[in-house]
Symmetry: C2
Subunit: 236 residues, 2 copies
DNA sequence: TTTCAATGTTAGACGAATCTAACTTAATTA
DNA sequence: TAATTAAGTTAGATTCGTCTAACATTGAAA
Protein backbone atom coordinates (compact mmCIF):
# COMPACT_ATOMS: atom_id res chain seq x y z
CA UNK A 1 0.00 0.00 0.00
CA UNK A 2 1.41 3.34 -1.03
CA UNK A 3 1.16 6.49 1.01
CA UNK A 4 -0.64 9.55 -0.26
CA UNK A 5 2.72 11.19 -0.94
CA UNK A 6 4.26 8.23 -2.72
CA UNK A 7 1.27 8.17 -5.05
CA UNK A 8 1.85 11.83 -5.83
CA UNK A 9 5.50 11.22 -6.67
CA UNK A 10 4.81 8.42 -9.10
CA UNK A 11 1.96 10.33 -10.67
CA UNK A 12 4.31 13.28 -11.19
CA UNK A 13 6.87 10.94 -12.76
CA UNK A 14 4.25 9.63 -15.17
CA UNK A 15 3.31 13.19 -16.14
CA UNK A 16 6.88 14.33 -16.61
CA UNK A 17 7.91 11.37 -18.71
CA UNK A 18 5.10 10.02 -20.84
CA UNK A 19 3.14 13.18 -21.36
CA UNK A 20 6.31 14.85 -22.57
CA UNK A 21 7.69 11.81 -24.36
CA UNK A 22 10.89 11.66 -22.35
CA UNK A 23 12.61 8.63 -20.86
CA UNK A 24 13.63 9.89 -17.43
CA UNK A 25 13.69 13.08 -15.38
CA UNK A 26 16.01 14.75 -12.91
CA UNK A 27 15.60 15.47 -9.23
CA UNK A 28 15.27 19.22 -9.70
CA UNK A 29 12.56 18.95 -12.28
CA UNK A 30 10.58 16.56 -10.13
CA UNK A 31 11.04 18.80 -7.10
CA UNK A 32 9.82 21.86 -9.01
CA UNK A 33 6.77 19.99 -10.24
CA UNK A 34 5.86 18.76 -6.76
CA UNK A 35 6.63 22.02 -4.99
CA UNK A 36 9.28 20.54 -2.68
CA UNK A 37 13.06 20.88 -2.39
CA UNK A 38 15.42 18.67 -4.39
CA UNK A 39 16.79 17.20 -1.16
CA UNK A 40 13.33 15.96 -0.29
CA UNK A 41 13.03 14.28 -3.64
CA UNK A 42 16.37 12.53 -3.22
CA UNK A 43 15.16 11.08 0.08
CA UNK A 44 11.88 9.95 -1.39
CA UNK A 45 13.52 8.39 -4.43
CA UNK A 46 15.46 6.09 -2.13
CA UNK A 47 12.22 4.92 -0.58
CA UNK A 48 10.54 4.52 -3.97
CA UNK A 49 13.49 2.54 -5.20
CA UNK A 50 13.31 0.23 -2.19
CA UNK A 51 9.68 -0.39 -3.02
CA UNK A 52 10.73 -1.11 -6.62
CA UNK A 53 8.57 1.65 -8.02
CA UNK A 54 11.35 3.49 -9.85
CA UNK A 55 14.69 2.79 -11.37
CA UNK A 56 17.19 5.28 -10.11
CA UNK A 57 20.90 5.57 -9.46
CA UNK A 58 22.70 8.30 -7.53
CA UNK A 59 23.27 11.39 -9.67
CA UNK A 60 21.28 9.76 -12.46
CA UNK A 61 17.82 10.31 -13.89
CA UNK A 62 14.70 8.61 -12.57
CA UNK A 63 12.06 6.63 -14.41
CA UNK A 64 9.14 4.49 -13.36
CA UNK A 65 9.45 0.72 -13.10
CA UNK A 66 6.78 -1.42 -14.68
CA UNK A 67 4.90 -1.79 -11.41
CA UNK A 68 5.40 1.89 -10.58
CA UNK A 69 3.99 2.90 -13.93
CA UNK A 70 1.01 0.66 -13.49
CA UNK A 71 0.24 2.10 -10.06
CA UNK A 72 0.68 5.63 -11.39
CA UNK A 73 -1.74 4.94 -14.20
CA UNK A 74 -4.24 3.69 -11.68
CA UNK A 75 -3.99 6.95 -9.74
CA UNK A 76 -4.43 8.88 -12.97
CA UNK A 77 -7.47 6.79 -13.82
CA UNK A 78 -9.04 7.59 -10.48
CA UNK A 79 -8.24 11.27 -10.89
CA UNK A 80 -9.90 11.49 -14.27
CA UNK A 81 -12.93 9.43 -13.31
CA UNK A 82 -13.53 11.69 -10.32
CA UNK A 83 -13.14 14.79 -12.47
CA UNK A 84 -15.73 13.39 -14.82
CA UNK A 85 -18.08 12.74 -11.93
CA UNK A 86 -17.59 16.23 -10.53
CA UNK A 87 -18.40 17.90 -13.84
CA UNK A 88 -21.08 15.65 -15.17
CA UNK A 89 -22.99 14.79 -12.01
CA UNK A 90 -22.31 17.64 -9.64
CA UNK A 91 -22.13 20.42 -12.22
CA UNK A 92 -18.71 21.75 -11.27
CA UNK A 93 -17.07 24.01 -13.85
CA UNK A 94 -13.97 22.37 -15.30
CA UNK A 95 -11.56 24.77 -13.64
CA UNK A 96 -12.62 23.63 -10.16
CA UNK A 97 -12.42 19.87 -10.52
CA UNK A 98 -8.68 19.30 -10.62
CA UNK A 99 -8.03 20.40 -7.06
CA UNK A 100 -10.79 18.26 -5.57
CA UNK A 101 -9.80 15.26 -7.68
CA UNK A 102 -6.26 15.61 -6.30
CA UNK A 103 -7.74 14.53 -2.99
CA UNK A 104 -10.26 11.99 -4.26
CA UNK A 105 -7.67 10.12 -6.34
CA UNK A 106 -6.11 8.74 -3.15
CA UNK A 107 -9.23 6.99 -1.87
CA UNK A 108 -8.42 3.28 -1.68
CA UNK A 109 -11.11 1.05 -3.09
CA UNK A 110 -10.99 -0.69 -6.42
CA UNK A 111 -14.63 -1.54 -6.18
CA UNK A 112 -15.47 2.11 -5.71
CA UNK A 113 -13.74 3.06 -8.93
CA UNK A 114 -15.29 0.21 -10.87
CA UNK A 115 -18.74 1.20 -9.72
CA UNK A 116 -18.12 4.88 -10.38
CA UNK A 117 -16.83 3.99 -13.84
CA UNK A 118 -20.02 2.04 -14.56
CA UNK A 119 -22.19 4.78 -13.05
CA UNK A 120 -20.64 7.28 -15.46
CA UNK A 121 -21.14 4.92 -18.40
CA UNK A 122 -17.45 4.02 -18.85
CA UNK A 123 -16.33 7.44 -20.06
CA UNK A 124 -13.27 7.59 -22.29
CA UNK A 125 -12.27 11.20 -21.89
CA UNK A 126 -12.32 13.49 -18.90
CA UNK A 127 -13.62 17.08 -18.77
CA UNK A 128 -10.29 18.42 -20.02
CA UNK A 129 -10.25 16.14 -23.03
CA UNK A 130 -7.67 13.73 -21.58
CA UNK A 131 -7.96 10.01 -22.07
CA UNK A 132 -9.10 8.02 -19.06
CA UNK A 133 -6.89 4.94 -18.68
CA UNK A 134 -8.83 1.70 -18.84
CA UNK A 135 -9.18 -0.59 -15.85
CA UNK A 136 -6.45 -2.90 -17.09
CA UNK A 137 -4.00 -0.02 -17.23
CA UNK A 138 -3.92 0.67 -20.93
CA UNK A 139 -2.76 4.21 -21.23
CA UNK A 140 -1.11 5.99 -24.05
CA UNK A 141 -0.54 9.60 -24.89
CA UNK A 142 -1.11 10.34 -28.51
CA UNK A 143 0.94 13.08 -30.13
CA UNK A 144 -0.90 16.35 -29.95
CA UNK A 145 -1.45 19.12 -32.40
CA UNK A 146 -1.64 22.52 -30.74
CA UNK A 147 -3.27 25.77 -31.72
CA UNK A 148 0.20 27.25 -32.08
CA UNK A 149 0.91 24.89 -34.98
CA UNK A 150 -1.88 26.30 -37.11
CA UNK A 151 -1.37 28.87 -39.83
CA UNK A 152 -3.60 31.83 -40.59
CA UNK A 153 -6.99 30.98 -42.12
CA UNK A 154 -6.88 27.43 -40.72
CA UNK A 155 -9.62 26.23 -38.44
CA UNK A 156 -9.75 23.41 -35.90
CA UNK A 157 -11.75 21.98 -33.05
CA UNK A 158 -10.73 22.11 -29.38
CA UNK A 159 -10.16 18.57 -28.14
CA UNK A 160 -8.09 19.15 -25.02
CA UNK A 161 -5.86 21.38 -22.94
CA UNK A 162 -2.32 20.97 -21.71
CA UNK A 163 -2.78 22.77 -18.42
CA UNK A 164 -5.48 21.95 -15.89
CA UNK A 165 -4.88 24.86 -13.55
CA UNK A 166 -7.87 26.97 -12.64
CA UNK A 167 -6.15 30.14 -13.86
CA UNK A 168 -5.55 28.73 -17.32
CA UNK A 169 -8.97 27.15 -17.66
CA UNK A 170 -10.74 30.33 -16.65
CA UNK A 171 -8.74 32.13 -19.30
CA UNK A 172 -9.88 29.50 -21.82
CA UNK A 173 -13.48 30.09 -20.69
CA UNK A 174 -13.06 33.82 -21.11
CA UNK A 175 -12.28 33.55 -24.82
CA UNK A 176 -15.44 31.48 -25.22
CA UNK A 177 -13.74 28.11 -25.69
CA UNK A 178 -14.98 24.73 -24.59
CA UNK A 179 -14.31 21.19 -25.72
CA UNK A 180 -15.67 20.88 -29.24
CA UNK A 181 -15.53 24.60 -30.00
CA UNK A 182 -14.46 25.51 -33.54
CA UNK A 183 -11.48 27.83 -33.61
CA UNK A 184 -10.56 29.91 -36.65
CA UNK A 185 -7.07 31.39 -36.84
CA UNK A 186 -7.63 34.78 -38.44
CA UNK A 187 -4.08 36.04 -38.51
CA UNK A 188 -0.77 35.88 -36.72
CA UNK A 189 0.81 39.18 -35.77
CA UNK A 190 4.17 39.34 -37.53
CA UNK A 191 5.59 41.64 -34.84
CA UNK A 192 4.87 39.77 -31.57
CA UNK A 193 3.45 36.47 -32.81
CA UNK A 194 0.12 37.04 -31.09
CA UNK A 195 -2.54 34.84 -32.62
CA UNK A 196 -5.90 36.31 -33.51
CA UNK A 197 -8.60 33.68 -33.19
CA UNK A 198 -12.35 33.64 -33.64
CA UNK A 199 -14.72 31.43 -31.64
CA UNK A 200 -18.46 31.64 -32.28
CA UNK A 201 -17.97 35.00 -33.89
CA UNK A 202 -15.96 36.37 -30.97
CA UNK A 203 -12.43 37.49 -31.73
CA UNK A 204 -9.54 37.31 -29.24
CA UNK A 205 -5.78 37.69 -29.24
CA UNK A 206 -3.82 34.93 -27.55
CA UNK A 207 -0.14 34.35 -26.91
CA UNK A 208 2.09 31.54 -28.14
CA UNK A 209 2.32 30.29 -24.59
CA UNK A 210 -1.45 30.04 -24.40
CA UNK A 211 -1.74 28.43 -27.83
CA UNK A 212 0.81 25.77 -26.88
CA UNK A 213 -1.64 24.45 -24.30
CA UNK A 214 -4.62 24.28 -26.64
CA UNK A 215 -4.92 20.88 -28.29
CA UNK A 216 -6.86 20.77 -31.51
CA UNK A 217 -8.08 18.43 -34.16
CA UNK A 218 -8.10 19.67 -37.73
CA UNK A 219 -10.48 18.45 -40.42
CA UNK A 220 -7.58 17.14 -42.49
CA UNK A 221 -6.10 15.35 -39.49
CA UNK A 222 -9.39 13.59 -38.88
CA UNK A 223 -9.09 11.92 -42.29
CA UNK A 224 -5.45 10.99 -41.88
CA UNK A 225 -4.32 7.50 -41.01
CA UNK A 226 -1.06 8.60 -39.46
CA UNK A 227 1.02 11.72 -39.01
CA UNK A 228 2.76 11.49 -42.36
CA UNK A 229 1.20 14.24 -44.37
CA UNK A 230 1.14 17.30 -42.21
CA UNK A 231 -0.13 19.95 -44.60
CA UNK A 232 -3.57 20.89 -43.51
CA UNK A 233 -5.99 23.37 -44.94
CA UNK A 234 -8.57 25.37 -43.13
CA UNK A 235 -11.89 24.69 -44.77
CA UNK A 236 -14.19 27.36 -43.52
CA UNK B 1 -7.38 23.24 9.00
CA UNK B 2 -7.48 19.96 10.86
CA UNK B 3 -5.44 16.92 9.98
CA UNK B 4 -7.07 13.67 9.00
CA UNK B 5 -6.24 12.27 12.43
CA UNK B 6 -7.52 15.24 14.38
CA UNK B 7 -10.82 14.92 12.55
CA UNK B 8 -11.02 11.29 13.57
CA UNK B 9 -10.43 12.13 17.21
CA UNK B 10 -13.18 14.73 17.39
CA UNK B 11 -15.55 12.49 15.47
CA UNK B 12 -14.87 9.73 18.00
CA UNK B 13 -15.52 12.17 20.82
CA UNK B 14 -18.85 13.12 19.29
CA UNK B 15 -19.83 9.46 19.01
CA UNK B 16 -18.76 8.58 22.52
CA UNK B 17 -20.56 11.50 24.14
CA UNK B 18 -23.73 12.50 22.32
CA UNK B 19 -24.68 9.17 20.87
CA UNK B 20 -24.44 7.67 24.32
CA UNK B 21 -25.80 10.71 26.15
CA UNK B 22 -22.73 11.20 28.29
CA UNK B 23 -20.95 14.46 29.14
CA UNK B 24 -17.30 13.46 28.82
CA UNK B 25 -15.11 10.43 28.25
CA UNK B 26 -11.79 9.10 29.50
CA UNK B 27 -8.51 8.59 27.73
CA UNK B 28 -8.75 4.79 27.77
CA UNK B 29 -12.21 4.68 26.30
CA UNK B 30 -11.21 7.04 23.52
CA UNK B 31 -8.05 5.01 22.85
CA UNK B 32 -10.00 1.78 22.66
CA UNK B 33 -12.48 3.31 20.23
CA UNK B 34 -9.75 4.67 17.98
CA UNK B 35 -7.56 1.58 18.16
CA UNK B 36 -4.53 3.40 19.59
CA UNK B 37 -2.79 3.35 22.95
CA UNK B 38 -3.89 5.63 25.81
CA UNK B 39 -0.51 7.38 25.71
CA UNK B 40 -1.16 8.40 22.13
CA UNK B 41 -4.49 9.87 23.10
CA UNK B 42 -2.95 11.90 25.91
CA UNK B 43 -0.50 13.44 23.43
CA UNK B 44 -3.22 14.23 20.95
CA UNK B 45 -5.52 15.73 23.57
CA UNK B 46 -2.85 18.31 24.34
CA UNK B 47 -2.78 19.30 20.70
CA UNK B 48 -6.58 19.37 20.44
CA UNK B 49 -6.73 21.50 23.56
CA UNK B 50 -4.23 23.96 22.12
CA UNK B 51 -6.45 24.24 19.06
CA UNK B 52 -9.41 24.82 21.40
CA UNK B 53 -11.30 21.83 20.09
CA UNK B 54 -11.75 20.11 23.44
CA UNK B 55 -11.93 20.97 27.09
CA UNK B 56 -9.58 18.78 29.02
CA UNK B 57 -7.52 18.84 32.20
CA UNK B 58 -4.82 16.38 33.18
CA UNK B 59 -6.29 13.22 34.71
CA UNK B 60 -9.78 14.48 33.91
CA UNK B 61 -12.39 13.59 31.33
CA UNK B 62 -12.52 15.11 27.86
CA UNK B 63 -15.38 16.79 26.06
CA UNK B 64 -15.74 18.73 22.83
CA UNK B 65 -15.70 22.51 22.83
CA UNK B 66 -18.37 24.35 20.89
CA UNK B 67 -16.12 24.75 17.86
CA UNK B 68 -14.86 21.18 18.18
CA UNK B 69 -18.40 19.88 18.24
CA UNK B 70 -19.33 21.88 15.20
CA UNK B 71 -16.35 20.59 13.23
CA UNK B 72 -17.09 17.03 14.33
CA UNK B 73 -20.68 17.36 13.17
CA UNK B 74 -19.43 18.53 9.82
CA UNK B 75 -17.27 15.43 9.46
CA UNK B 76 -20.25 13.29 10.41
CA UNK B 77 -22.38 15.07 7.83
CA UNK B 78 -19.83 14.34 5.13
CA UNK B 79 -19.58 10.72 6.22
CA UNK B 80 -23.32 10.17 6.01
CA UNK B 81 -23.78 12.01 2.74
CA UNK B 82 -21.05 9.90 1.15
CA UNK B 83 -22.63 6.72 2.51
CA UNK B 84 -25.90 7.77 0.97
CA UNK B 85 -24.19 8.38 -2.35
CA UNK B 86 -22.41 5.02 -2.28
CA UNK B 87 -25.62 3.10 -1.63
CA UNK B 88 -28.08 5.06 -3.71
CA UNK B 89 -25.96 5.92 -6.73
CA UNK B 90 -23.30 3.27 -6.88
CA UNK B 91 -25.39 0.39 -5.54
CA UNK B 92 -23.07 -0.60 -2.72
CA UNK B 93 -24.62 -2.85 -0.06
CA UNK B 94 -24.91 -1.04 3.28
CA UNK B 95 -22.25 -3.12 4.96
CA UNK B 96 -19.56 -1.89 2.58
CA UNK B 97 -20.13 1.84 2.70
CA UNK B 98 -18.83 2.70 6.14
CA UNK B 99 -15.23 1.86 5.43
CA UNK B 100 -15.08 3.85 2.21
CA UNK B 101 -16.90 6.79 3.76
CA UNK B 102 -14.25 6.81 6.50
CA UNK B 103 -11.86 7.95 3.80
CA UNK B 104 -14.20 10.19 1.84
CA UNK B 105 -15.30 12.14 4.93
CA UNK B 106 -11.89 13.85 5.04
CA UNK B 107 -12.04 15.40 1.58
CA UNK B 108 -11.85 19.16 2.04
CA UNK B 109 -14.37 21.07 0.01
CA UNK B 110 -17.53 22.63 1.28
CA UNK B 111 -18.77 23.19 -2.21
CA UNK B 112 -18.35 19.51 -2.96
CA UNK B 113 -20.56 18.53 -0.06
CA UNK B 114 -23.18 21.13 -0.90
CA UNK B 115 -23.37 19.93 -4.46
CA UNK B 116 -23.44 16.28 -3.44
CA UNK B 117 -26.20 17.08 -0.95
CA UNK B 118 -28.24 18.72 -3.72
CA UNK B 119 -27.46 15.89 -6.16
CA UNK B 120 -28.87 13.40 -3.65
CA UNK B 121 -31.96 15.55 -3.09
CA UNK B 122 -31.03 16.72 0.42
CA UNK B 123 -31.43 13.35 2.10
CA UNK B 124 -32.30 13.32 5.79
CA UNK B 125 -31.26 9.84 6.75
CA UNK B 126 -28.33 7.72 5.67
CA UNK B 127 -28.41 4.04 4.62
CA UNK B 128 -28.19 2.91 8.25
CA UNK B 129 -31.12 5.04 9.33
CA UNK B 130 -29.00 7.72 11.00
CA UNK B 131 -29.89 11.38 10.75
CA UNK B 132 -27.70 13.42 8.40
CA UNK B 133 -26.76 16.69 10.13
CA UNK B 134 -27.93 19.74 8.24
CA UNK B 135 -25.51 22.15 6.63
CA UNK B 136 -25.81 24.61 9.51
CA UNK B 137 -24.74 21.94 11.97
CA UNK B 138 -28.07 21.05 13.53
CA UNK B 139 -27.61 17.59 14.90
CA UNK B 140 -29.42 15.80 17.58
CA UNK B 141 -29.68 12.20 18.63
CA UNK B 142 -33.17 11.22 19.54
CA UNK B 143 -33.69 8.58 22.18
CA UNK B 144 -33.96 5.19 20.58
CA UNK B 145 -36.19 2.22 21.17
CA UNK B 146 -34.43 -1.07 20.53
CA UNK B 147 -35.67 -4.49 19.60
CA UNK B 148 -34.56 -5.70 23.01
CA UNK B 149 -37.16 -3.47 24.65
CA UNK B 150 -40.06 -5.22 22.97
CA UNK B 151 -42.14 -7.90 24.62
CA UNK B 152 -43.42 -11.08 23.00
CA UNK B 153 -46.22 -10.60 20.43
CA UNK B 154 -45.20 -6.98 19.80
CA UNK B 155 -44.21 -5.89 16.33
CA UNK B 156 -42.19 -2.96 15.08
CA UNK B 157 -40.43 -1.51 12.06
CA UNK B 158 -36.65 -1.33 11.61
CA UNK B 159 -35.60 2.31 11.48
CA UNK B 160 -31.89 2.09 12.20
CA UNK B 161 -28.94 0.18 13.60
CA UNK B 162 -26.50 0.96 16.36
CA UNK B 163 -23.48 -0.68 14.78
CA UNK B 164 -22.24 0.04 11.26
CA UNK B 165 -19.63 -2.68 11.08
CA UNK B 166 -19.74 -4.98 8.08
CA UNK B 167 -19.93 -8.05 10.33
CA UNK B 168 -23.01 -6.79 12.13
CA UNK B 169 -24.77 -5.53 9.02
CA UNK B 170 -24.24 -8.78 7.17
CA UNK B 171 -25.77 -10.55 10.14
CA UNK B 172 -28.73 -8.18 9.90
CA UNK B 173 -29.02 -9.00 6.18
CA UNK B 174 -28.91 -12.71 6.94
CA UNK B 175 -32.06 -12.58 9.05
CA UNK B 176 -33.81 -10.79 6.18
CA UNK B 177 -33.90 -7.34 7.76
CA UNK B 178 -33.64 -4.01 5.99
CA UNK B 179 -34.73 -0.49 6.86
CA UNK B 180 -38.51 -0.52 6.93
CA UNK B 181 -38.83 -4.25 7.57
CA UNK B 182 -41.59 -5.27 9.94
CA UNK B 183 -40.34 -7.34 12.85
CA UNK B 184 -42.60 -9.52 14.98
CA UNK B 185 -41.33 -10.70 18.34
CA UNK B 186 -42.74 -14.21 18.62
CA UNK B 187 -41.33 -15.18 21.99
CA UNK B 188 -38.46 -14.64 24.33
CA UNK B 189 -36.69 -17.75 25.61
CA UNK B 190 -37.04 -17.75 29.38
CA UNK B 191 -33.83 -19.73 29.80
CA UNK B 192 -31.24 -17.75 27.77
CA UNK B 193 -33.20 -14.64 26.76
CA UNK B 194 -32.82 -15.37 23.05
CA UNK B 195 -35.44 -13.52 21.07
CA UNK B 196 -37.40 -15.30 18.41
CA UNK B 197 -38.37 -12.90 15.65
CA UNK B 198 -40.20 -13.18 12.38
CA UNK B 199 -39.46 -11.07 9.31
CA UNK B 200 -41.45 -11.64 6.13
CA UNK B 201 -42.46 -15.06 7.35
CA UNK B 202 -38.88 -16.05 8.19
CA UNK B 203 -38.13 -16.91 11.79
CA UNK B 204 -34.78 -16.34 13.48
CA UNK B 205 -33.31 -16.40 16.96
CA UNK B 206 -31.26 -13.40 17.97
CA UNK B 207 -29.31 -12.48 21.07
CA UNK B 208 -29.85 -9.58 23.47
CA UNK B 209 -26.59 -8.11 22.24
CA UNK B 210 -27.86 -8.15 18.67
CA UNK B 211 -31.27 -6.79 19.64
CA UNK B 212 -29.66 -3.86 21.48
CA UNK B 213 -28.33 -2.61 18.16
CA UNK B 214 -31.63 -2.83 16.31
CA UNK B 215 -33.56 0.43 16.47
CA UNK B 216 -37.27 0.18 15.92
CA UNK B 217 -40.37 2.26 15.67
CA UNK B 218 -43.58 0.83 17.08
CA UNK B 219 -47.03 1.71 15.79
CA UNK B 220 -48.01 3.19 19.16
CA UNK B 221 -44.83 5.25 19.26
CA UNK B 222 -45.62 6.73 15.89
CA UNK B 223 -48.77 8.27 17.33
CA UNK B 224 -47.08 9.64 20.40
CA UNK B 225 -46.17 13.28 20.79
CA UNK B 226 -43.41 12.68 23.28
CA UNK B 227 -41.96 9.88 25.31
CA UNK B 228 -44.45 10.15 28.16
CA UNK B 229 -46.69 7.15 27.67
CA UNK B 230 -44.45 4.20 27.03
CA UNK B 231 -46.91 1.31 26.98
CA UNK B 232 -47.02 0.03 23.47
CA UNK B 233 -49.03 -2.74 21.99
CA UNK B 234 -48.20 -4.91 19.07
CA UNK B 235 -51.04 -4.60 16.58
CA UNK B 236 -50.58 -7.38 14.12
C1' DT C 1 41.98 20.21 -19.87
C1' DT C 2 40.70 22.90 -16.35
C1' DT C 3 37.17 25.49 -14.31
C1' DC C 4 32.71 26.57 -12.87
C1' DA C 5 27.80 26.61 -12.90
C1' DA C 6 24.09 23.52 -12.65
C1' DT C 7 22.50 19.59 -10.63
C1' DG C 8 22.21 16.39 -7.04
C1' DT C 9 23.32 14.35 -2.27
C1' DT C 10 24.24 14.16 2.72
C1' DA C 11 23.73 15.45 7.42
C1' DG C 12 21.13 17.14 10.87
C1' DA C 13 16.77 19.08 12.32
C1' DC C 14 11.69 19.31 12.93
C1' DG C 15 6.57 18.28 13.47
C1' DA C 16 3.01 14.75 13.29
C1' DA C 17 1.44 10.47 14.91
C1' DT C 18 2.47 6.57 16.77
C1' DC C 19 4.69 3.09 20.05
C1' DT C 20 6.69 0.83 24.72
C1' DA C 21 8.08 1.03 29.34
C1' DA C 22 8.11 3.28 33.47
C1' DC C 23 5.90 6.30 36.39
C1' DT C 24 1.88 8.95 38.85
C1' DT C 25 -2.79 9.80 40.29
C1' DA C 26 -7.44 8.43 41.37
C1' DA C 27 -10.80 5.24 42.89
C1' DT C 28 -12.27 1.11 45.19
C1' DT C 29 -12.24 -2.24 48.48
C1' DA C 30 -10.99 -4.63 52.51
C1' DT D 1 -7.44 4.43 56.34
C1' DA D 2 -4.21 1.73 53.85
C1' DA D 3 -3.48 -1.23 50.03
C1' DT D 4 -4.45 -2.51 45.59
C1' DT D 5 -6.15 -1.83 41.06
C1' DA D 6 -7.56 0.96 37.29
C1' DA D 7 -6.78 4.96 34.72
C1' DG D 8 -3.80 8.27 32.97
C1' DT D 9 0.85 10.58 31.99
C1' DT D 10 5.76 11.11 30.81
C1' DA D 11 9.98 10.04 28.57
C1' DG D 12 12.26 8.38 24.90
C1' DA D 13 12.14 6.02 20.40
C1' DT D 14 10.42 5.38 15.51
C1' DT D 15 8.63 6.45 10.81
C1' DC D 16 7.23 9.71 7.33
C1' DG D 17 7.78 13.76 4.89
C1' DT D 18 9.68 17.86 4.96
C1' DC D 19 13.34 21.60 5.56
C1' DT D 20 18.24 24.20 5.42
C1' DA D 21 23.01 24.32 4.90
C1' DA D 22 26.97 22.27 3.44
C1' DC D 23 29.15 19.15 0.35
C1' DA D 24 29.83 16.28 -4.11
C1' DT D 25 29.37 15.26 -9.03
C1' DT D 26 28.63 16.19 -13.86
C1' DG D 27 29.14 18.25 -17.99
C1' DA D 28 29.84 22.29 -20.92
C1' DA D 29 32.57 26.39 -22.02
C1' DA D 30 36.79 28.72 -22.07
Amino acid sequence: MLTFTEENYIKALLKLTEEVGVEAVGTNELAAHLGVKPATVTDMLKRLKEKQLVSYEKYGKVSLSVSGRSLAIDVLRKHRLWETFLCRCLGFPWHQVHEIAEQLEHIQSNELMDRLDAFLGFPQIDPHGDLIPSKDGVFQVKPKRTLSMLAATQSAVLIGVGDNSAAFLQYVDSVGLQLGSEILVKRIQPYDALIEIEINGKTSQVSQKFADQIFVDTPAQRDEISDVGLDVEGDL
